[in-house]
């Protein structure tokens, strides 16, 4: 009950500004969702410099609105035009666009809107009711447990990557290595600065994020001359919400999608995209309508969309309770906390109750605003597609530079951002995934810090990781994941070699 009172108070004290920020955030989120080439991670990154003058709660509410709406905006283009606006929209494109071609576009949009609403609200309920008890538990975690969580997160990043394991590994280690540059937290030792001031201050992970997401994407699209995705206009944009009996017959898809999204986001390093893919997979395996999937089934829209939106809450639970970001977007949110000198973690619930209430209220209102705007603003949003991508990209590049400079008012970050933007282009061309690089840069230093602290605390006794029960369990899961990963890689390699040999044999 306290939670509800707090949220009402947060909204009341925020006033019109609070609502204004949510509407703005939802609009921006939907817009970046609709525009191909702009993902919601870029959306939250680009809006970041504009939040510097705001209070922490306002900045966070705005970013959360962008984040939530960003998981939904891409639906419009996916269903109407077969253009997934976001990577997490890819699974629903199949059934969504098929329905569109069957003349059932309005119906498809209705199912998607409803799925996002259900996923968002169920996720929100989980956030409100799970995060506090989880925080009470997490207060007991020592640095050994945190180290084990980070290690599991790093392994999870590899396990869920869609690229080859070896390339993900290289990307991850590059990120971890880069993050060691600068003055270390514990001993104050200067590492890898090569005598330059630029590197001495360390490499801000937000500069890496802006570089590899915003700049890399812009350059890549520029390199492709913005080709490929033809932005035609659909004939009619209408949304028809499904009736109650139809909803009842699809209830299972809602439940499976939402729970898959929420559960899967409990693992660190797992974003909405993975959630959506896994939810689609689950639906295909176990769904009541599994046979009609791929032929224009609403279930093929409901499950991935509900999972994508529910995933936001999971990521927030992770970030708020443990202070560890699980995805690119929540890493940016962590940046907002840090810029306001607030450290998310189990203590935040006791120390910043107003901020937590504002976040809870902001998420709920964002989900509702997203639902309404998704139905009402679909047509104008789709119109935005007529805007030549080159203009949008120009703005992205401009905002990327502004954002990088604004991080610390330092030109160093501008150079670092540029360097990572270029590195990102080469990585994309070489088939190296970018997410492990970013998460390695964020989680690597945290892992190092927790490891060091644990070692200093115990006087160098490493058995503590195995003798503390929770840490031991987490490490066992990590080891199992790792074994699976190794097995998969070996299998992949064997298959590749077999293919190659076949081809050679065939001449």
């Amino acid at each position: 009950m306290d939670a509800i009172t707090g949220m009402v108070q947060a909204v009341a004290s925020g006033g019109f500004v609070f609502f204004g920020l949510i509407l703005l955030g939802v609009f921006v989120g939907m817009l970046v969702g609709v525009l191909p080439g702009l993902t919601f991670v870029i959306g939250v990154l680009l809006i970041l410099p504009f939040t510097y003058a705001m209070e922490a709660s306002q900045a966070l509410v705005l970013m959360i609105a962008v984040y939530v709406a960003g998981t939904y905006g891409g639906v419009l283009t996916s269903i109407l035009l077969n253009i997934p606006g976001e990577p997490n929209d890819v699974p629903l494109t199949k059934d969504g666009y098929t329905m569109s071609r069957q003349g059932r576009a309005a119906e498809a949009l209705g199912w998607a809107a409803l799925a996002a609403l259900v996923g968002g609200i169920v996720g929100w309920i989980a956030l409100v009711f799970v995060s506090q008890p989880f925080a009470a538990l997490a207060l007991q975690f020592g640095s050994a447990e945190y180290f084990a969580i980070i290690l599991l997160g790093l392994t999870g990043v590899l396990a869920l990557s869609e690229s080859s394991t070896a390339k993900s590994f290289i990307s991850l280690f590059a990120g971890m290595l880069v993050a060691t540059v600068g003055i270390d937290d514990i001993y104050g030792a200067v590492r890898y600065d090569f005598g330059t001031d630029l590197l001495r201050d360390g490499i801000n992970y937000l500069a890496i994020l802006v570089g590899v997401y915003a700049l890399t994407e812009s350059l890549t699209r520029f390199g492709e001359r913005f080709g490929g995705k033809v932005a035609q206009q659909p004939g009619e944009v209408r949304t028809t919400l499904p009736g109650l009996s139809a909803i009842r017959s699809r209830a299972g898809s809602f439940v499976r999608g939402t729970s898959t999204g929420a559960l899967i986001s409990a693992g660190p390093g797992v974003g909405s995209t993975v959630g959506a893919f896994v939810a689609y997979g689950v639906e295909k395996q176990f769904g009541r309508h599994k046979l009609e999937l791929g032929t224009g089934s609403p279930s093929g829209i409901i499950a991935p969309q509900a999972a994508s939106t529910a995933n936001v809450s999971g990521a927030l639970i992770h970030l708020l309770v443990l202070g560890i970001p699980g995805s690119g977007a929540s890493a940016v949110l962590l940046g907002v906390f840090q810029l306001n000198n607030i450290s998310p973690g189990p203590q935040i619930f006791g120390q910043q109750p107003e901020l937590i209430s504002a976040i809870f209220a902001g998420l709920l209102l964002s989900v509702l605003a997203m639902f309404v705007m998704g139905i009402l603003a679909a047509r104008p949003l789709i119109r935005m597609l007529a805007l030549p991508e080159v203009y949008i990209t120009a703005f992205v590049v401009l905002f990327a530079y502004m954002g990088a400079f604004a991080l610390r008012q330092s030109i160093s970050d501008v150079w670092i951002m540029t360097a990572f933007g270029l590195l990102g282009v080469f990585m994309v061309r070489g088939g190296y995934p970018l997410a492990p690089l970013v998460l390695g840069a964020i989680l690597g230093p945290l892992g190092e810090r927790y490891f060091n602290t644990t070692m200093i605390r115990t006087g160098g006794d490493w058995t503590v990781f195995f003798t503390r029960p929770l840490s031991a369990v987490l490490l066992a899961i990590t080891a199992a994941t790792f074994a699976l990963l190794a097995y998969r890689t070996v299998k992949e390699n064997r298959r590749d070699r077999a293919l190659l040999e076949q081809r050679i044999a065939a001449g």
Binding site: F141, G202, S343, G345, L398, R408, V414, V425, T453, I456
Partner: protein, 339 residues
């Protein structure tokens, strides 16, 4: 054909980026470094012709930030120029101090705490003491060891006894290696209480470590753990001073009672570039003397349990910083903190 195409694209892409950066670098120049050079003539009169940026070398909201944001308006009123406050956190204040020194001397100020001075003594700082000119000291507070009210050791008697019986086994959460914290713990070791310092970079982790029982105590000033004390989580066990602190309640022990004679307090002061004209330094120092009488600043000081009489003018503060530097160096060497 494909090759040529690719190369063309690459040249275009790279030049677009280069253009962007150039445009940016251009903006930076006009806005910052170069514009200050011309105003040198004004220095002799002690007046300021342009707004002065005050750098807080830590994030928003912490003690240094609050102190800067409360003192800036007071100084603004006295000298008739605006003093915008910017946060440039990093490396125990070094990133911000470097930023201040890069600006034109008569448009740059920074607030700096004792912890940052310790990095100068330790030789890990990115600036030297003769590059900065002390303007005034605005606050001063002693540090304490705090224990978890629900923890294993609930007061100094229990904590000290455990440290004596198991030297180096009882853990204290500190800021970082080689800081004021280590020197204070060194002074306790001298008296037979050997603790294990466990450094945590973030304030919240430091506090979290005591709450989770990862460490038995934490080294902090009263102002930084006020929330935890009010919430009944922490209580003071040992105060590094020779008399009780006004406003600090509880049955804590004084380090002087254990035989510790020298203490390093946590102070904060305003610093300028040492190239600033002496007349202008005097103007700032005089303006700063009004800060301690400001009711809002006084309220902050009382809330953060800072000591009364923390103010020092430029001259007195200059001597103090020199003495403090020697003291940190000597004590650091004595207790084996700086090797």
């Amino acid at each position: 054909m494909r090759m040529g195409n690719t190369r063309e694209r690459w040249v275009a892409a790279v030049s677009a980026v280069a253009l962007g950066v150039a445009a940016f670098a251009g903006c930076g120049d006009t806005g910052g470094e170069k514009s200050g050079g011309g105003g040198g003539g004004a220095g002799a009169s002690g007046e300021f012709k342009r707004p002065i940026t005050m750098v807080v070398p830590f994030g928003p909201g912490v003690g240094s930030d609050q102190a800067a944001r409360l003192s800036a308006p007071v100084i603004e009123k006295e000298i008739g120029q605006q003093i915008p406050v910017v946060n440039v956190p990093g490396a125990t204040g070094n990133t911000g101090m470097t930023k201040m020194l890069q600006g034109p001397p008569e448009q740059s100020l920074a607030i700096m705490p004792a912890d940052t001075l310790a990095t100068v003594v330790a030789g890990t700082s990115s600036f030297q003491l003769d590059e900065v000119a002390p303007v005034c000291r605005i606050s001063n507070a002693p540090s304490s060891l705090w224990v978890n009210t629900k923890g294993k050791y609930k007061d100094w008697d229990a904590l000290g006894k455990a440290a004596k019986e198991n030297p180096g086994e009882v853990a204290v959460a500190t800021v970082g290696k080689g800081g004021i914290d280590d020197i204070a713990l060194g002074s306790l070791e001298q008296q037979g209480f050997k603790f294990r310092a466990v450094p945590f970079a973030e304030g919240s982790e430091r506090k979290g470590a005591v709450l989770s029982g990862d460490t038995e105590a934490i080294f902090e000033q009263a102002g930084d753990v006020k929330e935890n004390v009010d919430a009944g989580q922490f209580k003071p066990a040992l105060l590094f001073a020779d008399k009780k602190q006004e406003g600090l309640e509880g049955d804590y022990t004084l380090a002087s009672e254990l035989g510790v004679e020298e203490f390093l307090d946590q102070w904060r002061g305003i610093f300028a570039n040492s190239e600033l004209a002496p007349e202008q330094l005097k103007t700032l120092s005089d303006a700063c003397s009004k800060v301690e009488q400001d009711p809002k600043f006084d309220e902050f000081r009382k809330k953060a349990l800072e000591l009364e009489g923390g103010f020092m003018d430029s001259e007195e503060f200059g001597k103090f910083v020199k003495d403090e530097q020697t003291k940190i160096k000597d004590l650091g060497a004595k207790y084996g903190v700086f090797k």
